[in-house]
Every structure is written in structure tokens, then in C-alpha cells.
């Protein structure tokens, strides 16, 4: 079977991201998964055990400051060279900012079609995408070149399939044209132990109804009790209650968790666009006419400052 290249997403703190494991699981349906690690020195070594556990038969690594010190251009060059050499059956990347950016450059370099935000990919290359704020399901196909797709996190359940991959270090020659956008500083921000928003299986979000930044502690408390991530509506972010990187919606992150809890969020289209493919939706809002209740599998019309602490207490009791 042909190789399927999976471009690995990982974080310094947590290692291989869940979406990478999803991509490896998906790749096994299409061919033989090969993981491609692009990062700083030693990146592949640290990730290889996990990548093997989920079925990577081979790991290609391009490491060092030449790769890591610039925005995606060097990474795209490395992957393009690899694609030309191994002629894979498909190339999978994460539907994150970086994954999409590498894919964008690959598409131009290889004069190849590209599909983003893919939630399923059949063996014949037919991809499923969710468009227009989750309202439309689209089946599409790359018609020029190989399937070059970015996979949306939480599209499938990762399944282990142990393999013992060998790491092949790629010789990297990055030209000046790929070194135009230099990363001069990377600042890590405190995130604590919560899962990443787009990958979390539970997301608890707060909106305007939370009232102020301090009250977001309530949202965080419920999220922590459920092992979830914290999100916020645009109204809450614009009001300065919570940082922008946690914004869920049309102009923020798209999430698709098993459970989404909306606290004090009315459910404007702006917000629904980012969360309405969640499996189960629960809402608490004092306005019984709020549109969020049209989506909610379970809704509580009431004061979130009473309902949420009581719910938190009840979860603690049951633990």
C-alpha cells in the first residue's frame, strides 16, 4: 500500500496533539501512515513513541532552527520535496492555522487541489466538509493531484494500532526565499491543565450573561469538574471577560465536542457557527426565548449564578 503522509501537530507542553492521532487513524484506512515531524532539534525523538502507538510505520523528521525559526514556508518546502520523492496516496494536515498554511503553500508548489476542514475522507478521496456554520454538508474531491486535505479536530475517535517506526532524518536545504518571515520571539502563555479548545471532548463556554471577567471563574470551575476546556462568546470576549484565543464562533474557533455547555449565551448565529456540530448541547440562560434553546438538548431557564454553583456542587457529590 502507498504511504499516506500525516504532518504532525504537537505542542511543547503536551506532545502529540489529538488531531494527529485522528489523522493517523484515518490514514490507516487509506494506506500506510508515515508521520512527518517538522520542528526544533530533537522533536521527532520526543514524539516517536506516541506516533508509533497510533500506527505510524515510518517517521520523517526535519528539525532545527532552519525549520522552526520561520513561519511555515520552510515546512512547506520540506513536505513538497517529500511528496515528490515518495508519491504518497494522500497528505493529511491538521485544520489549524499552521496546518492550513502549510497546505496552502503545498497546493501552489505542487499545483494540487486542496480541501480544508474535512471531517471524513473515503478511500476514493471523497471528502466530507461542513460548511456555512454547520448548516450544509458538502462532499468534495481533489481533482488535480493527490488528496491534500486538512482534517478538523474531533472528526473521529483515535484508535491505537502499535507499530515500531524508524525515524528518517530528512536533509533540509531551506533557501532564502523560505526565510522571509522570521520568528523573533515565542511567548508561552499560562494555560494550566485544561485541554486545548478545539480538541476537548467537553467545552463549557460563557457569554455576556456571565457579567464580568471575575465571574468566569464559575465557567472555569464547571469546565474543570468535567475535564473540559473553557470557551467564550464574541460578546464576552469583546467585553473583555475572557481572552480572544478562547472565542468560539464565526470569527473564532470552531469546536465539535461530545458535550458543549453554553452559560449566559443567547446563541446568535455568530456563536452557533462555531459550535452547532457539537454532539450534545446544554444551555443555561435566564431568557427562555434565547435562540440557544433551539439547539440545546437540555436547557435550563434560570439564573446561571444559582444554577451553575448548584450543578458544580452536585457533580462534586457524585464523584
Amino acid at each position: 500500500m502507498s504511504e499516506v503522509l500525516v504532518v504532525v501537530e504537537a505542542t511543547r507542553e503536551f506532545g502529540v496533539k489529538k488531531v494527529t492521532l485522528e489523522m493517523l487513524t484515518l490514514a490507516r484506512e487509506l494506506g500506510t501512515p508515515s508521520a512527518v515531524v517538522l520542528g526544533g532539534a530533537g522533536a521527532a525523538e520526543a514524539l516517536s513513541a506516541k506516533l508509533g502507538e497510533y500506527g505510524a510505520e515510518k517517521i520523517y523528521a526535519a528539525e532545527g532552527a532552519e525549520i522552526d525559526g520561520y513561519l511555515v514556508a520552510p515546512k512547506a518546502t520540506v513536505v513538497a520535496e517529500l511528496v515528490k520523492r515518495v508519491q504518497p496516496a494522500a497528505v493529511l494536515l491538521a485544520s489549524s492555522q499552521e496546518g492550513k498554511e502549510i497546505a496552502a503553500r503545498l497546493a501552489v508548489k505542487l499545483d494540487n487541489g486542496i480541501l480544508t476542514d474535512v471531517v471524513a475522507l473515503a478511500a476514493d478521496g471523497t471528502a466530507t466538509q461542513v460548511a456555512f456554520a454547520g448548516s450544509t454538508i458538502v462532499k468534495s474531491k481533489v481533482t488535480k493531484g493527490l488528496p491534500l486535505v486538512t482534517v478538523r479536530p474531533n472528526s473521529l475517535t483515535p484508535a491505537p494500532a502499535p507499530a515500531s517506526p524508524a525515524v528518517e532524518q530528512l536533509t533540509v536545504t531551506v533557501g532564502d526565499a523560505d526565510k522571509l518571515a522570521k520568528v523573533v520571539e515565542r511567548v508561552a502563555e499560562q494555560k494550566g491543565s485544561r485541554p486545548e479548545l478545539t480538541e476537548a471532548s467537553v467545552v463549557v463556554s460563557g457569554g455576556r450573561g456571565v457579567g464580568n471577567a471575575d465571574n468566569f471563574k464559575l465557567v472555569e470551575e464547571l469546565a474543570d469538574l468535567l475535564g473540559g476546556a473553557v470557551g467564550a462568546s464574541r460578546a464576552a470576549v469583546d467585553s473583555g471577560f475572557y481572552p480572544h484565543q478562547f472565542q468560539v464562533g464565526q470569527t473564532g474557533k470552531t469546536v465539535s465536542p461530545q458535550l458543549y455547555i453554553a452559560l449566559g449565551i443567547s446563541g446568535a448565529i455568530q456563536h452557533r457557527a462555531g459550535m452547532q456540530t457539537s454532539k450534545t448541547i446544554v444551555a443555561v440562560n435566564k431568557d427562555g426565548e434565547a435562540p440557544i434553546f433551539e439547539l440545546a438538548d437540555f436547557g435550563v431557564v434560570g439564573d446561571l449564578f444559582k444554577v451553575v454553583p448548584q450543578a458544580a456542587e452536585e457533580i462534586r457529590k457524585r464523584k
Partner: protein
Amino acid sequence: MNIVVLVKQVPDSGADRNLRSDDNTVDRGSANNVINEMDEYAIEEALKIKEAHGGEVTILTMGPDRATESIRKALSMGPDKAVHVVDDALHGSCAVATSKVLAAALGQLGADLVICGAESTDGRVQVLPHMIAERLGVAALTGARKLTVDGSTLTVERQTEEGYEVVTAATPAVVSVWDTINEPRYPSFKGIMAAKKKPVQTLSLADLGVAPAEVGFDGATSAVLEHTKRPPRSGGEKISDEGEGGVKLVEFLATEKFV
């Protein structure tokens, strides 16, 4: 500084949006078409740079005739002029072909700085800035929440999942911006009146030296095979909190095995 802002006309994301049943493209005919929201932040950023450093701001749009409305609206915020790439053969173009056309237009305009929204609300594909930069051989500084211009040096702060990055490049470059970068101005009455007289140049594929076979459905590198409306979610159980709302919420979570 010669700044070009990419502006896309999109169907209003606040209303019902559809794909056409005949050719699977975005239904623009029945939609209320507006400027892509993120592009307004790009325009604002360009105007701020012009105000601080001088230069000229040009709007560049690829789209059908009706995109003229959005171009005039963009001009009413303050840019100097616009270029509208319009050609019947463009209908059905994929992202790869679109980047080819825009890169050709940018090549003619000779921009020092190209600013665009990080994504459009219709496709949300986020690939064009890097595709264009790749074709032009210039830097792409994407997803900016802050942009500083110091002579020919651009510095961008961009949000990442772990924190943020500071990235620099020399002009010419492409910069894409999120809605955290500024607060777009509202067009003034004077601006709206002035926009009516501002020059809008139209360019065809022939003007750009791009063959019709390279774009549209003929040149597309991907295709939509079919599309269906997702059945709308229906609300489930809704209770009023009579003092037991929190407990009942947890009971629901327990039946769904979340606790």
C-alpha cells in the same frame, strides 16, 4: 507605502446561506452580499498605516459585477482607489486558481504591502495569504493581532495555541489580520459621497495574462460533488429553574454519561 487591501464580497453570515443546486457554487444571487467582515479590519489597518506613514491604499476585489457595491462601500471608509478583477470565466474558480489571479493583479499593482482578512466568512479556508505570498515570492505574516511598520520592516504579533509569536519581515509582504487588531471606522457621509467618485479600474483575465482554462470550472483543482442541508437541530427538554435547576442539569449529564 503602496498598500493593497484584498476585499471579498460574501453572503451575509447572519442570514441563511446556500450552495447552488445547479453548479454547487456559493449562491450569491439570492443572498444579501456584504464585505467579508474580517476585510474591514484589513482596510482599517491599511488606513492607519497610511495616516502614519503616508502612501496610497488600493482595494483589490475579484468577483462578479455585483461586487461593485462592496467595492464602493470599502472605498467609503477612506481608501484611494480600487481594482476590480471581473470576468465571466472566473465563475467556479478554486482557491488555487483564485490565488493565481490575485497574484497576477498584485504583480501589476506593485504593492509594498498586501493586507487581507485572515479568513472569509463563507469559505473559512484561510489559505489565500500564503498561496499569494508563495506565488509572489514574498513574506506572509498571517493571523496578525498587532502590526507595526518601521520603515520597510514589518513586525507582527500573532496568536498561537500556546501563546503568541512575534514575527518580522521586510516589505514587500502579505499580512493577514484577525478582528482583534483594531476597531474599523464607520464610513462618514463625506466618505460615502467621495467613494462615488473614486476610480475603480476593472481588469479582465486577458488584462492579467491569465488563460480562461486556468480558472473557473475548467481550471479547478477540486470539485464539490454534492451538498445537502444538515437537518436543523431541534431543541430538547427545557426546564425552568425552580431551585433544582443545577441538580437537574447534572442528572441530564449523568444519563448521557458525562458525569
